[in-house]
Symmetry: C2
Amino acid sequence: MSDTPSPYSTGLERNPANHVALSPLGFLSRTAAVFPDRLAVVHGARRYRWAETYARCRRLASALRRRGIGKNDTVAVMATNTPECLEAHFGVPMAGAVLNALNIRLDAATIAFILEHGEAKALITDREFSPVIEKALAQIKRPPLVIDIDDALAPPGKLLGEMDYERFLATGDADFAWQNAADEWDAIALNYTSGTTGNPKGVVYHHRGAYLNALGNALVWSLPQHPVYLWTLPMFHCNGWCFPWTVTALAGTHVCLRRVEAPAIYAAIAEQGVSHLCGAPIVMNMLLHAPEEQRRSAAGREVRMMTAGAAPPAAVIEGMERLGFRITHVYGLTETYGPATVCAWHGEWDTLPAEQISARKARQGVRYPVLEGLMVADAETLAPVPSDGTTIGEVFMRGNIVMKGYLKNPQASEAAFAGGWFHTGDLGVMHTDGYIEIKDRSKDIIISGGENISTIEIESVLYRHPAVLEAAVVARPDETWGETPCAFVTLKPGASATADEIIRYCRDRLARFKAPKTVVFGPLPKTSTGKVQKFALREQAKALHTPEENSAPKGR
Amino acid sequence: MSDTPSPYSTGLERNPANHVALSPLGFLSRTAAVFPDRLAVVHGARRYRWAETYARCRRLASALRRRGIGKNDTVAVMATNTPECLEAHFGVPMAGAVLNALNIRLDAATIAFILEHGEAKALITDREFSPVIEKALAQIKRPPLVIDIDDALAPPGKLLGEMDYERFLATGDADFAWQNAADEWDAIALNYTSGTTGNPKGVVYHHRGAYLNALGNALVWSLPQHPVYLWTLPMFHCNGWCFPWTVTALAGTHVCLRRVEAPAIYAAIAEQGVSHLCGAPIVMNMLLHAPEEQRRSAAGREVRMMTAGAAPPAAVIEGMERLGFRITHVYGLTETYGPATVCAWHGEWDTLPAEQISARKARQGVRYPVLEGLMVADAETLAPVPSDGTTIGEVFMRGNIVMKGYLKNPQASEAAFAGGWFHTGDLGVMHTDGYIEIKDRSKDIIISGGENISTIEIESVLYRHPAVLEAAVVARPDETWGETPCAFVTLKPGASATADEIIRYCRDRLARFKAPKTVVFGPLPKTSTGKVQKFALREQAKALHTPEENSAPKGR
């Protein structure tokens, strides 16, 4: 270890021949060049080959550039899993811009907040969501360029924009000479968290992380060339866990799906040869409990499903595996490009009793190879907890698939990265074999049907109800949704309200899925310092037996 | 595209939580943590589990550090494909040092040159090579620390060093707290080119490229978790094409092999469950022509083999596929971490006639997903040639799996990177479907009467002759034509043919001017990696005086 300059550190600099910014965009040009005639995208009767999809993405990029949208400009998309949404994952960053895929279940006020905070210069929006988008646009000062997705498979809806998506593509050049990201640290996407406290935070992804997690998915899932991937996972969730890029890198086929319903999923498996899909446990539940006549065979093929969002219940895993689905459990956050850990399977576990198999599979597991650090540690000192499977600590991550930070929120970014680790806010244990298991999502979050719901957001609505004195919301276990919001409410002296009234009140002011499904009246248990004891309420919510108390409808 | 500072470019900087140097070293710690009890390495009767291999690598790193060897220090290894050589791929860079794996077939003078040029601080050497190493060490001024690999499976040999490898490991700490590369651009390996003209050049690899090509191998080969990989490819050749890192990332099993011989290969396939192997076409040839009694079954399993180093002759591919080997053809150079292109397969080609399948498979193909640019272009202007399958140009590459440069040779580095592309020195064509096909090394092309003749084209015809086992064609100086093709041929055991017969066979199948004018029978001189030493044949061809010696020995 001499101190003289090393020959390895001179004359061996980066140059254009040996250093190129990592970006998932190159996956598309490669696949289109190598497999131009392979099926890239299926959507109802629509079919695109890779050469066509590439041309459409280049047109999109070119059309955006011709409207002055480029480097570091935000382009929002409000869409289900359609070809347009997939194309935006390439076309938008090929223009140098940043993709902001919006959660289609958000209310107008939240969307308006996001469009303003993200400074969207353009919004590509599916006609199904015109009512909420129209309201949102009315609330913002400088409305963006609006382009409508006029999908033949969408329910009827007003067109709000300057032109529709196909006409917009026609204004672009199919041979557009797009440039790779100048720097792999450049932003590629902006994804808003559900916002546990106050407003949602804008999580910024870079090209490097998107590239790496796209490959990470392929590695941990043993994904071969040419998977047939069904879009049951929303692309607006962490950019579909980076699968728009993964499946493209492998020259697979994207099978689109507007609505996650059992008959459509079984049909795609049987007719399109679907080999892989992702989704929250709610999707497994749906497939498992579909009526016999809806279930269709994969003709002996094994279908692989990746799940995350809540620990999948053992009974659900067992049932799915009996149906021929091979389940892989992953875990991650919006801040980690979707999945960052995987419950890596050991062949010898196959011979365990079914219950133990499911118990193992319910663990969140080990780091993706593209995540460099994972630990369960004391939230203050960052000292790792013992690997004993019982000591609870906070889950911390470090690596290249951790976000750049929160947009225009340096305080939140600093807090998230304090001590050189990303603070997930999730509580878990480290098992003796080095597998983590989440014991509690960060206390204020409810995960219902794969969607994160902030209890604080619901409480703030409840508190506005004229009859409500105090309110606290916790998760209640639910067979269908995983969890649903359960509100504990103390009424003002002399005031009265029914559970139904309160639920309706919330529905009018929140995205429908966020409204409580259960309301329980009574005094709230408190600590000596006056803090509501949520853990006690969680116990109560768990112990509730029947859903009668509010006769809430099942759908959303 | 406003000029005001973008919110995406402020407050979102790299920090220890979201940016870690890419390095393949993390694959080992992850695999050891997740699969500590899985079989990592097999070598004869020796077996190591991943926890053990990781501990041995940490001991090696620690032992080196205790001897003052660290960042940017070169550690040379002279070894066959043994556990020690594999461990050096992790232990050496875990010490911060740079691995220089030596070609075991080099002579003492060349090894002495490399040890001096690379400034090796340590040499880990297998006793099989003590004679040449002893001579080499005697020629250099400051001999390095020498450690002997005293492998029980090695032929007898003198021990030259201070101590043997196992004792050296014992001086290190199994819990050594190694550090990840500080910068992914740091050197991880040094590989000398074979240097057919002048001194060998030292190609420097960085951690980033090693990481990426390790993943690139997995992607293009659809490698699943837990491959059982047989070490038929020398680890000293482009660091075994990065497979020490690939197989480790996938928690596979490394099956070591001191000597590439058909019985040992077939035994490993049958007994160790080998699923994947790599090697030059010569290895395929060996397997194909092994006596019936040596061939052992993979019990119906398909064994996948990746080949490169020369276009595999169609007849060899056909034969191998009939034996149950599925061949993938890749191409690359020492300067590109081994394979950088792959003949990506199209399912619809499976139904082509066998001859056409082999012709497609013989093409070098398309870029790895981790290589960002590939073209066939004019060597001077860098203007791409037409994609017509006939216009010959030089093959150029650009991307993250192109070397840092040549050690202490800025002129050679500059020339290699001129114009922002890596100049491979190989000549090829671009087919209409975007697949490249190498026609020759620049120096291998024959120019006869002003016509360019591809030696590979002639060789592929020679390989179809029923009596020919191996063939190589070079230019022979000619007063009339400038050069004429001269064929060197090895006949199959027991087979016979005359030079005239062979020339006639070629004339029937090639443009007349391309048929060899001279045929010489006998064994072909080869490099350690199985490549025919064309420069030696060129010398021989030059020395031929009359055409009479053609009526040479038949068979061998």
